[in-house]
């Protein structure tokens, strides 16, 4: 990534953080600008997790209503604004998935690395190129099963039970793979 791209990104981050602060103080204008700047990204997150567009739209609506009410909880010292917003969207989407009947959730087995090629989608919102490279490097260090399960859980919002059914392994085994994978990731990222 070029230096100017990085400068653009940090400017973008600063702008979003600033808008969140204004939203926290009740500015509807800032809220509309925040929506314009971030909604397509958050919609991408919702679409990735939800089985259909109508559900994804409902989730996105809930997400922004939630952001209006809790913008004041954003702490720029502890999180990047885009990550904070995207995680709100992920959490809402996962809660919604959990409230749906199991049969209506998507079920393709993603043991192949379906979305594994990060170069396929531009990293416009990358937190910082080295954080991203670091996570990918650490993910690469996991054995294939752990990496695939963690990616599938993250991108499909699958539960332990769904993951176990998809890979045809006992629940306890799948839990153990993921938990060891998480511990290994944490250790790798902290070195």
């Amino acid at each position: 990534m070029s230096g100017s791209e990085q400068a653009q990104r940090s400017e973008h981050r600063a702008e979003i953080a600033h808008l969140l602060a204004e939203v926290a103080s009740g500015s509807r204008d800032a809220f509309e600008r925040l929506y314009q700047r971030t909604s397509s990204k958050l919609f991408g997150v919702c679409l990735r997790l939800m089985p259909d567009r109508a559900e994804a739209e409902d989730v996105l609506q809930e997400v922004y209503v939630g952001i209006w009410h809790k913008a004041g909880q954003f702490d720029p010292a502890r999180a990047s604004p885009i990550t904070w917003l995207a995680m709100i969207a992920r959490n809402k989407a996962i809660d919604r998935l959990r409230a749906m009947p199991a049969a209506s959730t998507q079920a393709p087995v993603e043991m192949a690395e379906r979305a594994a090629d990060p170069s396929a989608s531009p990293l416009h919102d990358a937190e910082a190129s080295n954080d991203s490279a670091r996570l990918h490097w650490c993910m690469e260090q996991l054995d294939d099963r752990r990496r695939s399960l963690i990616r599938t859980a993250f991108f499909d919002g699958a539960t332990y039970e769904e993951l176990a059914a998809r890979v045809g392994s006992p629940l306890g085994t799948v839990k153990s793979w993921i938990r060891r994978g998480l511990l290994q990731l944490r250790a790798c990222l902290e070195t």
Partner: protein, 262 residues
């Protein structure tokens, strides 16, 4: 399972994970609904646990970057505003909202609705002038003579006591319904009105949320347009914020009316 056990002092799949692993699992999203609710309560109650969750969110942030943005349908923003209890559109800004031909069109519509209300003779007070319908963004609205607007079917959606709740003005050709509410108080329980189209002998199909204090238009999905005819019913129910969760009405009907051709 046991075949793996000898390699480790303990098996993390078999016993309760420690707080940090739980936080990681929560961010990954592998828990069921009940466990997520327990952990969400813990996030609210325990700052330390909440920090663990945030740390995992930052660790996984780079995966979010792999998800491509996607264009958001234009009606989403008015829906967000409506759910927040604001008017569906912000009328005070530039662009299309200040275009003369736009206002002429919108005013013609409002006049048509008001005239229809007088014609029906049950409306205690005239509705406010219609703000711009949220879906009309690109095309300038047709500057139709008022007579043409009146010719469209207008249906009163009445409360149980017969008093009008909404006027629905139908534009069947373009698959659009303009809803003009008789201003009312918001539901004390925070529920929101949702509009349903019920074909004769058929099941209710949602047309989305409607405002209680501002006129706006609703676009009818292509598949339902055939039902915009005499004999079908328009009804409004009270639903949780965001609308009926599974596309099936869950709350009481607060107003309804059957479609008639004038």
């Amino acid at each position: 399972m046991n075949s793996h056990a000898p390699d480790f002092d303990h098996d993390p799949g078999q016993e309760p994970p420690d707080a940090d692993v739980l936080a990681g699992e929560y961010v990954l999203g592998v828990h069921d609904a009940a466990q997520r609710r327990r952990l969400q309560a813990r996030i609210d109650a325990e700052p330390e646990f909440s920090q663990r969750v945030q740390a995992w969110e930052m660790r996984f942030a780079a995966l979010i970057d792999e998800i491509a943005p996607s264009p958001v349908p234009p009606q989403l923003w008015p829906r967000v505003r409506t759910q927040l209890g604001w008017s569906p559109v912000e009328g005070a800004r530039g662009g299309i909202w200040q275009s003369v031909s736009f206002w002429r069109g919108a005013t013609a519509l409002a006049v048509a609705a008001a005239v229809a209300a007088i014609f029906i003779g049950r409306l205690p007070r005239a509705p406010e002038p219609a703000p711009p319908p949220p879906r009309v963004v690109v095309q300038p609205p047709p500057v139709a003579p008022v007579e043409t607007e009146i010719a469209k079917p207008v249906t009163t959606l009445a409360h149980d006591d017969g008093s009008p709740g909404w006027l629905a003005s139908l534009d069947a050709a373009n698959g659009r319904v303009t809803m003009v509410p008789v201003p009312a108080r918001a539901d004390a329980q925070g529920r929101v009105p949702e509009l349903w189209l019920i074909p004769e002998g058929g099941a209710p199909r949602s047309l989305g949320l409607v405002s209680i204090d501002k006129a706006h238009s609703v676009t009818v999905p292509q598949a339902l347009r055939a039902a915009l005819k005499a004999g079908s019913t328009l009804a409004i129910t009270l639903e949780p914020p965001g609308g009926a969760p599974k596309g099936i009405p869950t709350g009481p009907i607060i107003a309804k009316g059957s479609l008639q051709t004038i």
